[in-house]
């Protein structure tokens, strides 16, 4: 029930981001969502993309410091307050979120997040009948 996310360590100077993007372009891989926080010295560039496993291999081949991680993704109706509803469920269950980002895809809101307690998050999603996204769903939506 998780999806793959590429996490790339990038130094904070010009040329590092473009190296990653060019490599993905070369491999004909589509970026679905991505995020990078601003820090003084370095950042982690997180990407949800088509064919993440192949993307991982290609980027690794290009000499990029990369790790493949698994994150949870929820599908939310495109209405106000849905993110709050979802997160309050986690909050009540005592699940803390390490990082989170969201994007729109096929008219649906997608909430990607990572937690320290994956097992509990998974159980909570299942018990509360929350809609989650699998990798297959994601490709269909593209």
């Amino acid at each position: 029930m998780t999806i793959h996310q590429l996490s790339i360590f990038i130094e904070n100077h010009s040329g590092t981001l473009i190296k990653v993007l060019e490599a993905l372009k070369e491999a004909n891989i589509q970026i679905i969502a991505s995020t990078v926080a601003d820090t003084a010295e370095y950042g982690i560039y997180r990407i949800i993309c088509s064919e993440p496993i192949r993307a991982y291999e290609e980027l690794k081949k290009a000499g990029i410091t990369i790790t493949l991680s698994e994150v949870l993704a929820l599908e939310l109706d495109n209405k106000p307050g849905r993110a709050a509803d979802a997160i309050s469920v986690f909050s009540k269950a005592g699940i803390s979120i390490t990082y989170m980002y969201s994007f729109m895809l096929g008219g649906k809101g997608i909430l990607v997040f990572r937690t320290d307690n994956f097992e509990l998050a998974r159980d909570t999603i299942l018990q509360n009948y929350m809609k989650y996204i699998t990798e297959k769903d994601l490709v269909k939506l593209v």
């Binding site: 996310q5 996490s7 790339i8 360590f9 990038i10 130094e11 590092t16 926080a37 820090t39 010295e41 370095y42 982690i44 997180r46 000499g63 990029i64 410091t65 990369i66 790790t67 991680s69 390490t98 990082y99 990572r114």
Partner: protein, 436 residues
């Protein structure tokens, strides 16, 4: 009271001929004294020479060199030439790249050391009615006690302010009427910054007239900047704990090289590869032989500092050799803000972290008049966790500053970012421009 421009007129104004005769006599004594010690006995035996082989001053070249490695291997007391009960002081370097080095002093050694420092301070115009503030580290760092004893010997009111706490330093300068300060150059710059913040104008609000700066490589440009800031002359001081500490060499008012006191040392400049002497004016490694030390005389000690002879006469009347400010090192030692650091120390710490690779680069830069060390190292293991990166970065920084006593800036890089060198890796890039 001494009305002479010289602290010790007889010794300071010797002619070359007198100096050389004096040196030869002292050299013979020193060699005989060294040979009471097993380490030197062995060295002489290996070199196939005896004390009788020293007949002229040039014969100094027949003597074996001594090195920092010798000091480490004989740690702590193996090179003492007097019984330990005759020693009254010990200074030790941080033993970060192996055993520390230990330098012992008898009471006479301390007196002679103080005489050298007193001579230097007198030379730049200080007199007993001056107030001397020593804003240098105390403890094992010889810049503290060395200047303390020398300034006292000269008769000045001496303030052991030690390093740091700039507001208090400035208060002392104003309240005590400080006329002279000794500090590392970067600390003088720092003091000036704090003065500016506090609205203190050194020209208007202090009685400063002389600065002694040393223990940290600095350029002529940096010295001029310091002089402009503080409105007084800044004189370059050379010292090393192996010789005693500060006092070994100092600039006279001509500011044209440092006089190295040849009544205390035989000064040689050699090619660091061939160990043969280089002609005057050519850069080579400074080699010093102590001439009047009791506890731990050192023969032909390789300082690893690079410099050159500028001249052997001077309008100030002193014929002791003038050497250029230090131009670099013949080993990879870094001198940063008065602290001696070997790259291997940094490497040793980095290698304790499996998260980072073996390739690293140390860059020395001057930022806002402060010398800084930047350590760059490649991440071995990629991660998705900012927290881990931050923790790793902090932990490496903490361990590095424990080791080298300075807090470097750490930059984590992705793998393959640093150039991979063929052959000898370039580990240190010095952008401070102090040696130009």
């Amino acid at each position: 009271m001494n009305n002479s421009p010289y602290f010790n007129p007889e010794r300071e104004t010797m002619t070359r001929q007198q100096l050389e005769a004096f040196q030869l006599e002292r050299l013979k004594q020193t060699v005989r004294h060294c040979l009471t010690n097993k380490f030197y006995q062995k060295k002489f035996k290996e070199a196939g020479i005896t004390a009788d082989d020293i007949q002229t001053l040039d014969d100094v070249r027949r003597l074996p060199f001594t090195t920092k490695q010798d000091l480490r291997e004989t740690y702590p007391f193996g090179m003492a030439c007097v019984p330990l009960r005759d020693c009254v002081r010990l200074h030790s370097s941080s033993g970060t790249t192996g055993n520390p080095t230990v330098i012992l002093h008898t009471q006479k050694d301390l007196d002679e050391w103080a005489n050298q420092v007193a001579r230097n301070l007198w030379m730049v115009g200080l007199r007993p009615d001056d107030v001397f503030q020593n804003s240098s580290g105390y403890g094992m760092f010889t810049g503290g006690l060395g200047f303390q004893y020398g300034a006292e010997k000269m008769g000045m009111l001496t303030v052991p302010a030690a390093a740091g706490n700039s507001l208090r330093q400035i208060k002392f300068i104003k309240d005590f009427g400080t006329t002279a300060i000794h500090a590392i150059p970067s600390y003088v710059t720092r003091l000036y910054e704090v003065m500016q913040q506090e609205g203190v104008d050194p020209r208007r609000d202090t009685k400063l007239k002389v600065l002694a700066i040393g223990a940290e490589p600095h350029s002529e440009e940096q010295r001029k900047r310091i002089e402009e800031m503080m409105g007084v002359k800044a004189y370059n001081s050379f010292g090393m704990s192996e010789m005693c500490g500060p006092g070994v060499g100092f600039e006279c008012p001509e500011q044209n090289g440092l006089h190295f006191w040849e009544d205390y040392y035989i000064v040689e400049i050699v090619n660091p590869d061939t160990l043969e002497p280089v002609p005057d004016g050519e850069i080579g490694e400074l080699v010093l032989t102590t001439l009047c030390r009791e506890a731990m005389p050192l023969l032909r000690y390789r300082t690893r500092d690079l410099t050159r002879v500028l001249g052997r006469t001077c309008p100030c009347g002193r014929n002791h050799v003038r050497l250029d400010r230090m131009r670099g090192r013949s080993d990879d030692m870094i001198v940063l803000r008065g602290v001696n650091i070997f790259p291997i120390q940094i490497e040793k710490i980095l290698m304790q972290f499996p998260e980072v690779g073996t390739n690293y680069l140390i860059t020395l830069v001057t930022e806002d008049n402060n010398d800084q060390m930047i350590v760059e190292v490649e991440l071995n293991e990629p991660t998705d966790d900012y927290g881990k990166l931050q923790k790793l970065s902090q932990e490496i920084c903490r361990r590095l500053s424990d080791e080298i006593l300075l807090k470097p800036k750490l930059r984590l890089l992705s793998k393959g970012t640093l150039p991979v060198s063929e052959g000898k890796a370039v580990r240190v890039v010095d952008k401070r421009k102090v040696y130009q």
